[in-house]
């Protein structure tokens, strides 16, 4: 009687409903965990009143959000303004469709009820192409709000995502050479087959991916689109109530997706030295790995100050992208000549160390003296050599 459950489509609908429910719950509790962890790191308490250790805080927040007023500004382009958050959410959720959450129930045998929704054979291309649509949600939302802060925030976001997406993709390509497949399940199986995690062969690729991934989801220290001091809240300025929380949802789910890709590509996904053969345990292993990355995101937010905008662009194009190209070339050479994997690992580590030394030297740079003309005489001051002062043209005020 329950035969219909084994049709792929029915199983797919049920599985995607479960995954979406799990993602939304994860989002809700990520907000709580983030607030608690950041509070702990800053020597505060964080929300701890609603339920034991603040467990019901997300529920309270959700109910509050539902009953809140949703303002549509008079200047907004109404239709686009309403649809934009939904674009963000749909894109964030459907990127997760190809992520393998666990091993198949019987090791080595596939069935329709495996914990992956659709094992598309171009898995990572699916994720990259879908998640590059995320910029539409943000840009349309910011543009349609009819507010200059929103517009500037969304355009910044577009520039940032565009700049870091290339570095992100190229950083992943080294792993693909070792795996020899684009399917996410295939990549995990390749790591089991080789007996290593790809982070050992691709340390440089991993760090590049992590940095680019943080920038791609607009998290601190790359959260310029939402920089409060400069842009109020960037593209979120005009949004309120449930639509605002939909944007937040999209942001956190993107974070989870980036963490999942990092775990799958570089840390063996759901595999852990043979333990994944026990049914169900593979899911727990995967969740732990993702949780470690999510904690890293929170930790970075509490630790690092926001990067300046021109440095952000320069960093992406002048450091991340060339390094990603170098990484791809090294990996290609190692794979093509059938050298062992640790050669690319050592080369990657060497490059990381060299770059850190180089950057360190730039931090210890000297100072230069500039003379600035001011009203009533000029003034000389010492500034770091990398800083260039903007030149303003004279404007004749009528």
């Amino acid at each position: 009687m329950l035969e219909f459950l084994n049709t792929p489509i029915v199983a797919g609908v049920i599985k995607s409903a479960i995954v979406i429910f799990a993602l939304l719950t994860a989002f809700a509790y990520m907000t709580l965990i983030e607030r608690r962890v950041v509070a702990k790191l800053q020597g505060r308490l964080g929300p701890n009143r609603a339920g034991p250790a603040g467990m019901f805080q997300p529920v309270a927040d959700a109910i509050k959000m539902i009953f809140k007023e949703q303002i549509v500004p008079t200047q907004a382009k109404k239709a686009i303004y309403m649809v934009a958050p939904i674009i963000s959410l749909v894109v964030a959720l459907s990127a997760f469709a190809v992520v393998p959450i666990g091993n198949s129930w019987v090791d080595g045998k596939t069935s329709v009820w495996d914990p992956v929704i659709g094992d598309v054979n171009i898995g990572i291309l699916w994720i990259l192409s879908i998640s590059s649509l995320a910029v539409y949600g943000i840009v349309l939302g910011g543009w349609a709000s009819g507010n200059r802060y929103s517009l500037l925030g969304s355009l910044r976001s577009a520039a940032q995502m565009v700049s870091y997406e290339t570095g992100l993709g190229l950083a992943l390509s080294g792993t693909l050479m070792f795996a020899g497949t684009l399917s996410m399940v295939g990549i995990v199986n390749a790591q089991r087959h080789m007996g290593i995690w790809f982070v050992a062969a691709q340390p440089l690729g991993f760090f590049l991916y992590l940095i680019a991934g943080i920038a791609e989801v607009n998290r601190a220290p790359f959260d310029l689109p939402e920089a409060e001091q400069e842009l109020t809240a960037g593209y979120l300025t005009e949004y309120s109530g449930l639509r605002w929380s939909v944007y937040q949802m999209a942001e956190y789910i993107n974070m989870i997706t980036v963490s999942s890709i990092a775990a799958t590509f570089f840390f063996g996904g759901w595999s852990f030295f043979g333990l994944e053969r026990i049914p169900g345990l593979s899911i727990v292993i995967f969740l732990v790995k993702v949780a470690v990355f999510l904690f890293l995101f929170i930790w970075l937010r509490a630790t690092l100050p926001r990067i300046r905008y021109d440095r952000l662009m320069r960093f992406g194009w002048q450091l991340l992208l060339p390094l990603a190209v170098v990484n791809a070339v090294i990996s290609a050479t190692v794979v093509a000549l059938n050298w062992p994997w640790w050669i690319s690992g050592l080369a990657g580590l060497a490059i990381i160390v060299a770059v850190l030394f180089y950057e360190r030297r730039k931090i210890n740079e000297g100072q230069k003296e500039v003379t600035v003309k001011e009203v009533g005489g000029s003034k000389t001051m010492a500034i770091p050599t990398s800083v260039r002062l903007a030149k303003f043209e004279k404007v004749n005020v009528e």
């Binding site: 809140k68 007023e69 200047q75 802060y149 290339t166 684009l182 021109d310």
Partner: protein
């Protein structure tokens, strides 16, 4: 994993449909439970100290127009590189060196743009 490729795509598309359904649900929830009537003076955007009527969609200088162009070329490059990364081991050294030529041209492009100052902030 089923061996049927179209089915896998359909399954991934199912996730997309469910996600769209969820998005519409949130819009509906807000409409049902949110306050229906709202005072008009809340509508203008909160900037310029409450003055309204200014234009948002003005012409201004976008400082990364060149970067946008570069992005298009690099994104295309990525799309070419991914399938190549999967199969080049099977196709031997010829394919390997082919890609080297491609990457060399690309690297030349990066350094040219760098020299021209495309990556620096336009003052």
């Amino acid at each position: 994993m089923t061996d049927n490729v179209p089915v896998e795509y359909a399954l991934a598309a199912v996730m997309l449909m469910v996600a769209i359904g969820l998005g519409l649900l949130t819009l509906a929830l807000g409409r049902v439970f949110g306050p229906a009537r709202r005072p008009q003076q809340k509508n203008p955007p909160p900037e310029h100290g409450g003055r309204t009527g200014h234009k948002t969609w003005v012409q201004f200088r976008l400082r990364y127009a060149v970067l946008a162009l570069l992005f298009v070329s690099f994104d295309m490059e990525m799309v070419f590189m991914f399938p190549w990364a999967v199969v080049f081991k099977r196709d031997g050294l010829i394919a390997f060196f082919d890609m080297f030529v491609f990457v060399a041209i690309l690297a030349a492009a990066i350094f040219f743009a760098w020299k021209e100052g495309a990556f620096d902030w336009e003052y």
